[in-house]
Each structure stands twice: as C-alpha cells, then as structure tokens.
Amino acid sequence: MSLLSVNDLWVSYGAIQALRGISLRVEPGEIVTLIGGNGAGKSTTLRTISGLLQPRSGEIQFQGQAIQGRAPHHIVTSGLIQVPEGRGIFANLTVDENLQLGAFTRSDRVAIRKDRERALELFPRVRERLKQLAGTLSGGEQQMLAIARALLARPKLLMLDEPSLGLAPQIVQTIFQVIREINREGTTILLVEQNASMALQVAHRAYVIEVGEMIMDGPAAELAASDEVRKAYLGAH
C-alpha cells in the first residue's frame, strides 16, 4: 500500500485553475521529488495535501485513509508534516520555542526529548542558537530550523517545499545531505524543488509538473538522463 496516494486532484483559487487532475503516489521509505517551473502548482499540491487548501475534486489517501477535506491539525497528528515554502519561521520566538512548537501535537515528553536531541545532532548550528530569536537567523539557519522543527513532529511523511530557495550552494549541499540522512533513518520524503539537478540526485523517483498537470514521472536517474528534462530543467542544450 502506498503511504500517500493522490488521485485526479483539481484545485482552484477562485477562477484560477491551479491543479488540473494531478495524481501521484509515495511509497514507504522513498524520496520522491516533484519538480517544475514557477507557478506550475507544486506548492498548491503540498498545501492541498496538508489540508491548507480544499480541492475541487479528487482523492488524497494517507496510510490508506482518505484525508481530503480534513482540518490541517488532524492531518499533522496523523504524521503528515510540511515544511512550508519560505520556511515559516516564527521570527519573534526563540529558536527553542520554535522547536517546541514543532512538537505541539505530541505529549510523550521522553520521546520528544529524544527526537529533539536527534534533530539538533543533525543541525549543530541550530543547537548553538537555541536562545536566539529565530528572526535573527541567517536564511540557511532558518531553513535548518524549519526542518528540525518539522522533525519534532515525528513525521511519517515529510514534505519539503523548496528547501534550497535562496541559499548558497554549500548550504544547499548540507541540507540535502541531511534530507538523505533523515530518509535513511526511515522517514519518507516528498521534496518539491526548482533546483532539479540536486533534487534528481537525492530522489528515488520524480514527477514533473507543468501548469497544473503532471507531464512525466519515473525513476529519478531516468528522468535526469532524458532529453526533455535536461533541456527544460537542467539547463542542458
């Protein structure tokens, strides 16, 4: 059974039809990436899966349960966690308080402490700044905090919306390494990226979305080698 399966999803913002029948699935243990240009509908897809947007029609199943139309906080409780585009850091709270909010829906103190320890091991730079206001972190550090915070929710499926956005190549490397690491430890990942070359390197499978429609999917390595993807997304000629 797929961990997540999305079937023929239609989403609109008023008159703007943002998604026209998107389907995708994510198997347990995978890293799946969703790539596409500006305005293709990647963030819309994630927001709809998280329950932040209501679909016109279509079906979303997580662990075999239909979740479309459910409130975001119910979806979070079931282990489907999103790191929103632009990180969504709570700027006027400390780094520590941001992390505590990550575990907001949980009450198992001992397990939370363990997860927190692990998240801080993955991001030592976050640990050094626990008492700092999150808004004063650099962009890269904020992205690290956003991922660390999401880990405290103990995700079964972690959805990342453009974690490389606006970051220097070195930081992007670090973050993708951690994504691999998190996945190796058993967390399934759905990664939305414009940085297609990085995304195709870490992912097992990939989907390509263009103006609200899925135009291609397959093993990441195959897509990376295909002419179409190379021309459109990897800057090859």
Binding site: A71, H73, R87, G88, F90, A91, N92, T105, R129, L130
Partner: protein, 375 residues
C-alpha cells in the same frame, strides 16, 4: 523477564519527576496569587494613609485599566488579531454584575446601598457578581470571536467595533431601574426584557463595594493567568498564529479554536473589570461606556505597551490612566495628546515600550536576544 528488571527503577524516577513537576506548577500558580493578594491587602490599608484618598482612587482606576489592557493583549498582542470592542465586553460584564448586586441587595436587604464591612457579605456578593459578569462577557466573546475565523485585519476590527456600538444602543433602550423593594417582589419575570438597568442615563445606585483589595486581587488573577498562558504550550501556539498562520497550521495548531479561545478569555477578564468598574464609587455605568472611545483607550495601552508584553501594557495602562488625571485642566486635548503620543511611538519605538519582552528581559544578558557563543 530478567532484562526488564533494570528498567523499573528508571520508570519510578521518571514518574516522580512528573509528579514533582505538576506540584511545582501548582505552586508556581498559587505563590504569585498569594503574593498578589498580600500586596492588594497592603494597598488597601496602607496606600490611602500615604498618598490620600484622591490618589488611591487613581491607583484603583489603574488596576481596572490593567485588567483591561492585559486581557486585550491576549487577543491583539498574542494572537495578532485586532479587536477594538473591548469596552463592550467590559460594559456587558459591568451591567450584569451590577444587576446582580443591586437587585440582590434590594431583594435580600431591602435597600441597595453597601452592605457589610470590608470583606463582608456585600463585597463577596460583588466578587461573585464580577465573575458571573465575566462569564456572560465570555459568552459574548465567543459569539464575537467566531467571525475572526473568516475575517481578518480591518474587517474583524469593524465587527468588534460594531459589537460595542450595538451594545451601546441596546443599553440605551433598557427600562427604568426598580427602586422599591415591594415593587421588586411583585415584579414579573417578563419585566427582565428589556432589563431594568436605567436606559440612557445609566445604572445609578449600584452599591459601591469596589476597593483596592478587590481590584488588585482581580489584577493578580488576570496577570497570573496571562503570564502562565504566555509561557505555556497553548500560549506559544497563540503567538505562532500571530507570527505566521500557515506555518502555525503546519505545526498542527488549530488556529480557529485558538483565535476564538483568545476572544473568550479576554472577554471574561474584561467582564470582571466591568463589574469592578460598575461598583466603584463615583461611577455610574452607562451605555456610552460600551462605545468606541473607551475601547480605543485600551487599544492604545496595548499598542504603547508592546504586543504580547504583559509588564509593558501594565506600565502603559498606569501611565495612560494617571496622565489625564494629572493634566485634568487639559481634558479637551486628551485625544490630541493620544494621537501625538501614538505618532511619536510609531516613529521612535514601533514595537511598543517593551516590544514582545517582559521588563526583566530588557537587562543585558538576561534577554531572549542573548546569543549563545560557541565555547
């Protein structure tokens, strides 16, 4: 089974740690409460002798303003909504409490004037009435808070403003106060609609029980609850709504519930403050108290104090209550002064006196701004 033995002691220590934590948290709540009540007693018996009746009265007004500003700050400061109808909740609570004590006294003792000494039956009746007033206001807070789920910013502000103004007009349509105990005993339930609370001229002859002790006891309760809330997981969730609604939802915060809850809590405390206000000597609570002007005073206190800073808005409440008293001769310029003060604040310190911090966090080395250096 053999290898499960070593785990047992660990579990026991863990459990006792949990118990200790819950005991600690009860103490952390009760201790400030007890301290606050001791302070309230001290104010009651010492302050008038030192600063005189007139100034003690100002200190009492400051206390009521503190309850209003600290509670409004739960809505405007913590969850980042914008309510400008807080005086509406206050007045609703005030009228409710006043009805209870006035008609209660008239029924039981045959006359409304103050009954009993310090901490006597009358004062306890008032304290109870303030809490009932708070509960009624909280109910209204729930209803007014509901639109906050769909509306934001300016639109929500207009709804809250509308609430205060509608209440003002409704209170003007109420009927005359019943003054004769015999008439009260003969009265029918149907006379409750519209309630006999004095119409446009206000609810006169409410027994005057409010004193420094009760005001500062309620201040203490409000501040302790607000402080505990701010430092709890629920409070952090509310603040996260102010910071970023989408991210807050992504963390699993039920933002609808929390927004309405903020309204309900704030309205409750405003209702109790209204009760204290209605029983203050020299005050005749009247429909105009529900109006925009009074609400605006409290909004200014929260803006000036800093969003989310409890000590900040307490200080602002003190300054903005005491200042007009000191400048009584310039009463007609009060609004101009407020406007000037706000403009200056926006230019010099847009985050408010203390920003999001409490007073003790402003000293260097203790603040949340401290950056831990690498060893």
């Amino acid at each position: 089974m053999a290898h499960s033995a070593p785990e047992t002691p660990a579990k026991v220590t863990m459990q006792s740690a949990e118990t200790r934590r819950s005991h600690d948290s009860i103490w952390r709540g009760l201790l400030p409460l007890a301290l606050g009540m001791v302070l309230a007693l001290a104010l009651q018996f010492v302050l008038p002798a030192i600063v005189g009746q007139y100034n003690s009265r100002i200190v009492m007004d400051i206390g009521i303003a503190m309850i209003m500003a600290v509670s409004l700050n739960i809505v405007n400061g913590m969850t980042g909504q914008f309510s400008i109808g807080h005086a509406g909740f206050m007045t609703l609570g005030g009228y409710t409490a006043a009805m209870l004590t006035y008609y209660g006294s008239l029924y039981m003792w045959g006359a409304p004037p103050a009954h009993g000494h310090f901490l006597g039956a009358g004062e306890w009746m008032m304290a109870g009435a303030c809490i009932v007033g708070g509960l009624v206001a909280a109910g209204a807070g729930y209803v007014v808070g509901l639109p906050s789920l769909r509306l934001r910013g300016d639109y929500l502000a207009i709804v809250t403003l509308g609430f205060g103004e509608i209440l003002r007009v409704v209170l003007q349509q109420t009927s005359k106060v019943i003054e004769d105990p015999a008439a009260l005993k003969a009265a029918k339930w149907s006379q409750l609609f519209p309630p006999p609370v004095g119409g446009a001229i206000g609810f006169a002859d409410v027994p005057k029980y409010t004193n420094l002790f009760w005001v500062y006891t309620f201040v203490t309760i409000t501040v302790v609850v607000a402080y505990r809330l701010k430092n709890s997981s629920l409070g952090r969730a509310m603040i996260s709504i102010r910071e970023d609604e989408i991210a807050s939802q992504a963390m699993g915060v039920n933002i609808a519930r929390n927004k309405v809850l903020a309204f309900v809590l704030a309205a409750f405390f405003a209702g109790t403050a209204g009760g204290l206000f209605a029983h203050e000597s020299g005050v005749i609570i009247s429909p105009k108290d529900a109006g925009f002007q009074r609400s605006f005073d409290y909004v200014i206190m929260t803006v000036l104090g800093g969003r989310g800073s409890i000590t900040g808005v307490m200080l602002a409440a003190s300054i903005l209550t005491a200042l007009p008293e000191m400048l009584r001769d310039f009463e007609q310029y009060r609004l101009i002064m407020y406007a000037l003060l706000l403009i200056i604040m926006m230019l010099v310190r847009p985050q408010g006196l203390f920003g999001i911090h409490e007073i003790w966090q402003l000293w260097p080395g203790k603040g949340t701004r401290t950056v831990q250096k690498k060893a």
